[in-house]
Amino acid sequence: MEMTVHGLACARGGITVLEGVGFALRGGRALVLRGPNGIGKTTMLRTIAGLQPAVAGEIGLPPESIAYAAHSDGLKATLTVTENLSFWASVYGTGPDAVEAAITGMNLGILRDRQAANLSAGQKRRLGLARLLVTGRPLWVLDEPTVSLDAESVRLFAGVVRRHLAEGGAALIATHIDLGLDEAEVLDLGPFRARSPSEGGALSAFDEAFA
């Protein structure tokens, strides 16, 4: 399991925000993306997850390998914790065992029959992250996974990620806080900020047509 990214450029709202991003991520490793707000972390993760096309560059990864966790958790408020997880388990073709493992792994045992609407923000986040465990996918693409988690839950989640890495999985994480993953490499996106055309950067296809 290896993921390679070469010369990746991605755009948000028609404006190229990142260009020339390249890295390789092997199984058992984690890569933490850093950079100020608006640098394009989310845009890059969405591009890698296949939700939007890359402007340029190549993303090489095994098919059906990504589990993507966005800012929002994708929970259904009127379904219980177990129902939410069971749905994703059947979508990804993993069984009830995976659901049980995820509930235990993210410490959701006492909340299992609670409707998602009645969970606190941090509990919802834990449920959203538990979804990763039922996907059974090797590459986790995580966008700010620790938002609204307390210190203990962050430690719990770091443990979950560490176990995933130990089992040969990989994780690509955009975050501002220190997850306590000592083995993770850090990629600062600052140097990859796309130059505007006035600074010699490439024109977008649309602007090029009018240049």
Binding site: L51, E64, Y68, S72, D73, G74, A77, L79, W88
Partner: protein, 218 residues
């Protein structure tokens, strides 16, 4: 895909899911029209096929903006798009769920409400048949409209404007089937055309809807 269908049906049945919205609207229309038009059986019998079909169509339209909007708002649509189910399959399941929640109950309750409108005796069978054949097209076409407007805030108005013209052929042939059935004339031509529209829409539109969602998620 069955899991998605079960989830959507379960969400529709739970509180705030919108099940019964279309049904209540249909009920209101068919109860209010006799009050507005007057109790003359002959007049009502004449307009009954049209009123029943217009009511069913508007009832379908009412719940369309919920097809994708809720999943878009809570982020599940992003996650579904990255899940192993093809997006075309997701869209087809969503239309099926919408039909089961609106079209199917409308079809089943229509003969009961048709009594209020003095629908002639021969029309009941064809009312059920035409709604059963036609309402799936309403759901599939409506899902396409919902896919086009998925990212828009308050896209309901635009959705109605986009979808209504596409509903017109279904309405014309559907109402024609009932009218001819009620008058005892041959119904084969409009019935076949109605079935053709449904079959064509169900076969082709999921692909268009999936493409529209992919663009809207960018």
């Amino acid at each position: 895909m069955i899991a998605l269908l079960v989830r959507d049906l379960r969400l529709a049945m739970r509180a705030g899911g919108g099940f019964g919205l279309g049904l209540a609207f249909f009920l209101l229309v068919t109860v209010l029209v006799p009050l507005g038009v007057g109790p003359e059986g002959a007049t009502l019998a004449k307009i009954a096929p049209g009123i029943l079909w217009v009511g069913a169509l508007l009832a379908c339209l009412l719940s369309l903006d919920r097809v994708f909007a809720l999943d878009f708002e809570d982020g599940s649509l992003d996650l579904l798009a990255t899940a192993p189910i093809p997006l075309e399959g997701v869209v087809a399941v969503k239309s099926a769920a919408h039909w089961i929640v609106t079209g199917l109950p409308l079809t089943l309750i229509a003969p009961v409400l048709a009594v209020l409108l003095h629908l002639p005796e021969g029309g009941y069978l064809w009312l059920v048949v035409s709604l059963a054949l036609g309402t799936p097209a309403l759901s599939v076409i409506g899902t396409f409209g919902a896919a086009l407007t998925v990212g828009l805030k308050r896209g309901g108005l635009l959705l109605s404007l986009l979808v209504l013209p596409l509903y017109v052929p279904t309405l014309i042939f559907g109402a024609e089937v009932v009218k001819r059935g009620a008058e005892g004339m041959a119904i084969a031509t409009p019935l076949l055309l109605l079935a053709g529209i449904t079959a064509g829409a169900a076969a082709l539109l999921p692909f268009a809807s999936a493409a529209a969602i992919r663009i809207n998620l960018r």
